[in-house]
C-alpha cells in the first residue's frame, strides 16, 4: 500500500490554454463514494411498505429516525429539516473515510475536502446570525461586550470552521501516515528476515504485512473515521443551533 503523504495525487491534469485543472484522487474517490451511497440508498428505499416487513426497510427507518432524533435533541423541534443535510454529510464523511479499507486514499485526508464542509457550516452559522439579528446587528455583535476586542471576536469567528476542518483532517492524516510508516517498516523487516534466511523467491511479498496492519486499521480507519464523522456533525448542529435559536 503506497500512499503519498504530502497530498493527494493528480489522476488527470486538464489544460485549457494557460489554466490547468487537476483532477485529484480526492475528487475521484468522492465520485466513487457518491455512486456507492446512491446505490445503497436506492437499494434501501425501493418498494417501501406502510408497515415494514423487511429488515431492509427497518434499517432505513432506524437510520432516518436516528438522525431526526439527534437533530431534535441538539437544535429543537423547529429545525428537524436539517436532518437530511446532516445525514448526508455524515454518510459522505463516513464512507469517504472507510474507503481507505479498500486501499483507496480516504477522502478526509485532504484539507480541501474537510475545509469545504467546514465552510458550509460557517455559511449556515453566518446565515442564521444575520437572519436573526439583521446585518447591522450581526456586525454589531463583533464589538460586544467592548469595542476593543473586535479583532479577537473576528478571529474566534473564523477559528470555528478552521478548527473543524483541521480536526478532521489532522486525525485522518495522522492515522494514514502512521499506517503508511508501519507498512514500510514491515516491508523492510520482511526483507531483512528473507536476507537472513536466504530466501530469494519471495522478493515482492512481505510476510509481516499479513494481519499486523489490520490492528492499526481498526483504530485509525474504523474507530477514528466513525468518531470524527460523528463529532463533525455534532459540532455543526451545536454551532448552527446556537446561532439559529432565538432568545424566546
Amino acid at each position: 500500500m503506497e500512499m503519498n503523504v504530502t497530498g493527494p495525487g493528480k489522476i488527470i491534469t486538464l489544460t485549457f490554454g494557460d489554466t490547468e485543472i487537476a483532477i485529484s484522487e480526492t475528487l475521484v474517490t468522492g465520485w466513487i463514494v457518491m455512486i456507492i451511497l446512491t446505490a445503497l440508498i436506492l437499494w434501501l428505499t425501493h418498494d417501501l411498505k406502510v408497515k415494514p416487513t423487511t429488515k431492509r426497510q427497518a434499517a432505513a427507518e432506524w437510520f432516518v429516525t436516528f438522525f431526526e432524533n439527534t437533530v431534535r435533541d441538539m437544535m429543537g423541534d423547529k429545525f428537524v429539516y436539517y436532518a437530511p443535510y446532516v445525514a448526508t454529510i455524515f454518510c459522505f464523511a463516513l464512507v469517504g473515510a472507510l474507503i481507505s479499507l479498500f486501499g483507496l486514499r480516504s477522502m478526509t485526508v485532504d484539507i480541501n475536502c474537510t475545509g469545504t464542509w467546514a465552510a458550509m457550516t460557517f455559511v449556515l452559522i453566518t446565515y442564521w446570525k444575520i437572519r436573526n439579528n439583521g446585518i447591522l446587528g450581526y456586525l454589531k455583535g463583533y464589538t460586544e461586550p467592548v469595542a476593543v476586542i473586535t479583532p479577537i471576536n473576528i478571529l474566534s469567528e473564523f477559528a470555528t470552521p478552521f478548527a473543524m476542518a483541521v480536526r478532521m483532517f489532522g486525525n485522518m492524516a495522522g492515522g494514514m501516515i502512521i499506517t503508511t510508516l508501519v507498512y514500510g517498516a514491515l516491508t523492510a523487516a520482511s526483507q531483512a528476515v528473507y536476507g537472513l534466511l536466504g530466501i530469494t523467491f519471495l522478493k515482492y511479498f512481505s510476510i509481516f504485512q499479513i494481519g499486523i496492519p489490520a490492528v492499526l486499521s481498526i483504530y485509525f480507519d474504523l474507530f477514528s473515521g466513525v468518531i470524527q464523522s460523528y463529532v463533525f456533525i455534532m459540532l455543526t448542529l451545536a454551532y448552527v443551533g446556537d446561532a439559529a435559536r432565538t432568545e424566546d
Binding site: 503523504v5 480536526r167 489532522g170 495522522g174 463529532v231 455534532m234 459540532l235
Partner: protein, 98 residues
C-alpha cells in the same frame, strides 16, 4: 535563487542544519500532545463518575463526552499538523535545495 556563488560545502552544511532543525522542531511540536492527553483523561474520568452515579444518563454523558474530547483534542491536532508540515512539506528546505 539567492544562494548563487555559494560553495557546495557551505550548501551541504546549511542543508544539514535545516534538516536537524526540522527534526527537532517536529519533535518539539508534538509536545502539544500532553495537554489533550490530560484534558481528555479528565473529561473521560468525569464522564465515568457521572455514569456511575446516574446510570440512566449514560447515553447523554457519552455523547457529550465525545464532543468534549474532540474539542479538547484540537490543540494536540494543531501540534501534529505543524509536526507533519515540518517533516513532509518543510517550506524552508526549498530555499536550500533549489
Amino acid at each position: 535563487m539567492a544562494l548563487e556563488g555559494v560553495s557546495p560545502d557551505t550548501l551541504a552544511t546549511a542543508r544539514a542544519i535545516v534538516l536537524a532543525g526540522q527534526g527537532i522542531g517536529a519533535g518539539l511540536a508534538l509536545i502539544a500532545g500532553i495537554g489533550p492527553g490530560i484534558g481528555e483523561g479528565y473529561a473521560v474520568g468525569k464522564a465515568i463518575e457521572t455514569i456511575g452515579r446516574q446510570p440512566e444518563a449514560k447515553s447523554d454523558a457519552r455523547s457529550t463526552m465525545f464532543i468534549g474530547c474532540a474539542i479538547a483534542e484540537s490543540t494536540g491536532i494543531y501540534g501534529l499538523l505543524i509536526g507533519l508540515l515540518l517533516v513532509f512539506a518543510n517550506p524552508f528546505i526549498r530555499h536550500i535545495l533549489d
